[in-house]
């Protein structure tokens, strides 16, 4: 390269131009200081052999950390959804602090039965016992309805989430195309990269995302299941909403590129992204909760069943508690789906509709052969005592409802409450941990790629100085030329 004054001038000029570019990059950085999706840019200058200075803008990236952060945020979002929804489900079924739980109502019923058994001639106590039985049936039916509403709600959330994912993927395509064009044409893809990372974060809240970068910064997205989410074009995420749920009705699955999305599993859920968490809530947790309600209902029907006293070998029939399939007994040892929803007080006991609460003491809701108190004695307490004891009598429960082991109707109701509280507590704990991790990683990523205003300001001072120095060179060269021109006379 020729070391000449003219060249010096040109280099100073280029330097001024570069200072301008760097200042604009810096302004960008300062602008984006409070944008969580902004990655700081570095303007680096390469010096060529012929005095050329080329500026290249580098965006600070940390792909590994970003991926970790996405994973953590996916998991945290899913867990957060699970935790808050299970809390809601718990409140729907058990009320605050378990006060409205089936178990509480059952204990009330048991106590009222006990009281009645102690004073079997007391009609008031009979009516009270039947009333508290109605309360139990109502709570079961209400809880069952609430679970179905909860499932419908989850279904709507899934629908919303799927719509969000589809629209995010559309946006992702546009931004990704921009990134690819800018990269291929040596343009400035950085603003688009910021946007793409932001979209990626948003998508990862809904669904697990594995981002793979190809040539030209082109990104391909897979779910952790290995299903393609985006490759050149977005893959469709389809879902057919089910507006109303009944016990036993299963919702449709979310399909990504035709492959059904796996639901999360466990209270500390394996779900990544809230879609999987919603599916888990709708198809797993809520269904188990429903089955448990059905099991409690079945336990009650069994505990209060009437037996043929005539020796005629008639079948066991429903007593105080009746259900949709009554008066016959439900099949033993298996969940009778939808039982809780149809559980009611046998009208034969209901004084409001002409029934007699005293049947509780005497038996015989199913006809004379089922009467135990043959002499109609007011103090007949044998049946009542049996019924009270039945609260504590084990029956064969269905392990598929999520609770395994041997239970009586009271302990099953308690176990069911404990089951949900266990999920809630584990989920909340896990949500805390996962969101702390996610926050940590976000912070780390922000530290890695974010802007520190102080740093930018000190750079600005550097640039100012560099600008002044370049200007000084131009002035000096100008003076030299002046000296030269003045010598020509």
């Amino acid at each position: 390269m020729n070391l000449t004054l003219t060249n010096a001038l040109r280099i100073a000029q280029t330097s001024l131009l570069n200072t301008g570019t760097r200042t604009s990059v810096l302004t960008d950085n300062i602008n984006g200081a409070n944008d969580p999706n902004f990655s700081r840019r570095d303007a680096s200058i390469a010096y060529g052999p012929n005095g050329e200075q080329t500026i290249s803008i580098r965006r600070s990236e940390n792909a590994a950390l970003l991926e970790q952060s996405l994973r953590a945020s996916s998991a945290a979002s899913a867990q957060e959804t699970l935790s808050s929804s299970v809390t809601r489900l718990n409140r729907l079924i058990n009320g605050v602090d378990g006060e409205a739980s089936i178990s509480t109502a059952l204990t009330d019923l048991e106590n009222n039965m006990q009281m009645f058994a102690g004073d079997p001639g007391n009609e008031m106590l009979a009516a009270t016992a039947v009333d508290s039985a109605r309360e139990v049936a109502d709570r079961l039916a209400t809880a069952s309805g609430a679970v179905q509403l909860f499932r419908a709600e989850a279904d709507r959330e899934i629908e919303q989430s799927v719509a969000d994912v589809n629209s995010l993927l559309e946006q992702f395509k546009q931004v990704n195309d921009k990134v690819v064009i800018e990269t291929r044409t040596n343009g400035d893809p950085t603003p688009w990269l910021d946007q793409r990372d932001a979209l990626l974060k948003e998508i990862s809240e809904h669904i697990s995302v594995n981002a793979v970068t190809r040539d030209s910064n082109d990104m391909v997205l897979y779910t952790y299941q290995g299903v393609t989410l985006f490759e050149t074009n977005p893959r469709s995420v389809t879902f057919t909403p089910t507006p109303t749920y009944a016990p036993g009705k299963s919702g449709s699955s979310v399909r990504i590129d035709g492959v059904p999305l796996d639901a999360g599993a466990g209270a500390s859920s394996s779900a990544a992204g809230n879609l999987a968490a919603w599916v888990q809530l709708r198809d797993d947790i809520a269904v188990d909760a429903q089955s448990q309600l059905d099991e409690i209902a079945r336990g009650l029907v069994l505990a209060f069943a009437e037996t043929d006293q005539s020796g005629g070998g008639g079948p066991q029939l429903t007593g105080l508690f009746d259900y949709g399939g009554g008066p016959g007994m439900p099949p033993a040892g298996a969940v009778y789906t939808g039982m809780a929803a149809t559980l009611s007080i046998n009208s034969a006991f209901d004084a409001g509709v002409g029934g007699d609460p005293m049947l509780l003491r005497d038996g015989g809701a199913n006809g004379a052969s089922y009467v135990e108190n043959a002499n109609g004695e007011a103090g007949f307490s044998a049946r009542l005592l049996n019924l009270v004891e039945n609260f504590g009598a084990n029956y064969t429960t269905d392990a598929s409802a999520g609770i395994a082991g041997s239970y009586s109707v009271s302990t099953y109701a308690e176990a069911s409450l404990g089951w949900l509280e266990d999920i809630r507590s584990t989920a909340a704990d896990s949500a805390d941990r996962k969101s702390v991790l996610s926050e940590r990683l976000t912070q780390e990523l922000s530290n890695e790629t974010g802007v520190n205003l102080d740093e930018e300001m000190s750079r600005l001072i550097e640039l100012e100085q560099s600008y002044q120095a370049s200007a000084r060179i131009i002035a000096a060269v100008d003076e030299l030329f002046n000296a030269l021109l003045n010598s020509i006379r």
Partner: protein, 345 residues
């Protein structure tokens, strides 16, 4: 090159999220210190919520048992008193009973004593405690005994007498009956009337005594039914005296009646003290069960307090720490915000 490794955003957000999580903790601790329990037991206990619920249910059940026990206790107390009275009545009657007395005044005295005993006994047996006729057995909703005068039993006795001898008890012809005839009548006609269903002519009670559940799996007989053999013996004695001491029976024959009555009443008095002993045993048992239940309640309360309770001192210390932390966090926030190069440029 990167000079620093913290972004302004992370700096500001870090403090914000710390502060908000501290505030959450503050609210939770406040509630825990005030109530002495976990703010959200379900969240804290998880699966052990089932235990807590079970304990709370147990507590409700045990409370119910204590109610049941005290009610049973009252019923038994009533039974005990009534039986005591019955025993005294029997002893008084036996004291007045002179077998084989021919004097009409004395006869009347005996008859009056019998009538008195009969009435008092029926009164005692129709004792009502807490709305229940305690001697009615399971038939708690009606008086255990009818009035003897005009009862079906009296009619049956009279009918049996008429059938055997051809005249009524009040008939002067009774004076012609000898001791053997009366003895035969008493053992073969009179006594069976108390065993058979015609006893129902006097008693409305059920044969089954009332049972009560006073604890898990513990069902006790509460009280004595009026159909108890002892009670029957008692009535056999008093009714025999009542019916025949007012009649024209001869001295020998009356002697038989007197002996019969004495024997039956004495048996009854014996039986009553035995019954009282049995009732006393049940009472003692209930007392024991009640002590046990109370101990259990204490135990269960202890368990559940252990499960859901918090150490208030610990929590209030924690609360103080959190408040200090929040204060520090506030002051750091304000100082960090002062920390900007802009102030020095």
């Amino acid at each position: 090159m990167k000079i620093s490794s913290i972004s302004t955003l992370a700096l500001n957000n870090g403090l914000r999220s710390t502060t908000s999580s501290l505030q959450d903790t503050l609210v939770r601790l406040q509630e825990e210190v005030v109530t002495g329990r976990f703010a959200d037991t379900g969240l804290e206990l998880g699966a052990r919520s089932a235990n807590l619920k079970s304990l709370r249910n147990d507590l409700a059940r045990l409370d119910q048992f204590t109610i049941s026990q005290s009610r049973t206790g009252i019923l038994l107390e009533g039974t005990q008193l009534a039986l005591g009275q019955l025993g005294t009545i029997g002893e008084d009657f036996v004291g007045n009973l002179v077998p084989g007395v021919g004097d009409s005044l004395q006869r009347r005295l005996v008859r009056d004593a019998a009538e008195n005993a009969l009435d008092s006994a029926i009164l005692q047996l129709n004792n009502q405690v807490d709305g229940a006729f305690i001697f009615g057995g399971e038939n708690v909703d009606q008086p255990a005994m009818e009035d003897y005068e005009g009862s079906a039993l009296q009619a049956s006795i009279e009918a049996a007498f008429l059938a055997r001898f051809g005249f009524a008890i009040s008939d002067p012809a009774t004076s012609g009956l000898d001791a053997t005839q009366i003895e035969d009548f008493l053992s073969n006609d009179f006594e069976p009337l108390f065993a058979s269903t015609s006893w129902g002519g006097l008693s409305n009670a059920s044969d089954n005594a009332v049972t009560n559940r006073i604890a898990e799996g513990t069902i006790v007989q509460t009280g004595v039914t009026a159909n108890d053999d002892t009670i029957r013996d008692f009535f056999m004695g008093t009714i025999a005296a009542y019916e025949f001491y007012g009649s024209e029976l001869g001295g020998d024959a009356l002697g038989v009646v007197g002996n019969f009555s004495l024997e039956k009443t004495a048996t009854a008095i014996n039986g009553i003290s035995q019954l009282r002993g049995e009732v006393g045993l049940t009472q003692a048992r209930i007392e024991r069960t009640r002590d046990q239940t109370e101990a259990q309640i204490l135990l269960v309360e202890g368990f559940s307090a252990e499960l859901e309770g918090v150490d208030v001192y610990e929590k209030s210390a924690e609360l103080n720490n959190v408040i200090t932390q929040i204060e520090i966090s506030y002051s750091i926030t304000s100082r960090v915000q002062q920390l900007s190069i802009m102030r020095f440029l």
